[in-house]
Amino acid sequence: MRRYESVWVVHGDLPDEEAKSTIEKFSRIIAANGGVMVGVDDWGRRRLAYKINGTARGYYLLADFAGEAGTVKELERNYRIDDRIIRYHTVKKSDNVNLAALEAEIAAKVQAAQPQPEAAPSPEAQPAAVAAPAPETAAEETAPVRAKEE
């Protein structure tokens, strides 16, 4: 299995809920084609550097997953079918994914995500949100290094 990272952009004229609903759709496609989802990063609504299909805005989403060539092929095929997707890009982060290490990473991510909704209504929501992505990026950075050493 290989580790991939896929960014897709949803048309900016669509409501945020519809953009977020694509997460579920593509997660299912990844899972159904021999992939393992690690996490989704929601970049939110951003200004595009240039107009695409008549809009200057887009909703960016990033999926971090492990899978085979077929997983990516099927995922990208579905991106192309879906009219709501204006851009997509998939990058291979590493060859040879250690499944045990991957599961540990997913478990750590789930744990890190759990205290967040509890803290959300309190005024501490902001520091919690800032603190949460930090371990994720640290984990991402160590993964390719480990692969290189092998």
Binding site: L48, Y50, V91
Partner: protein, 85 residues
């Protein structure tokens, strides 16, 4: 190749440029990080050549690739809209 200082007329101070990605190995080159990549394009959006940016060949290749990927995802412009002067 650095230009050798001429002895006779003008005294050039040639400061050897060092690749900043070699100096700081932890510095990532990532197409998602458009703000860092913006340092390697001109205000017209053109990729700054190696002889000016000072990047080594390996890192320049990665920077170039990352910029092109970022352009595709509309994170960076192909042609920026400049204020009319």
């Amino acid at each position: 190749m650095p230009v050798m200082p001429r002895r006779k007329r003008k005294q050039f101070y040639v400061r050897r440029k060092v690749c900043r990605f070699c100096v700081d190995q932890a510095l990532p080159i990532d197409y998602k990080d458009a703000n860092t990549l913006r340092q390697f394009v001109t205000e017209r959006g053109k990729i700054i050549p190696r002889r000016i940016s000072g990047n080594c060949a390996r890192h320049q290749r990665r920077v170039t690739r990352a910029i092109k990927q970022a352009r595709l995802m509309a994170l960076m412009p192909y042609v920026p809209t400049l204020p009319i002067s």
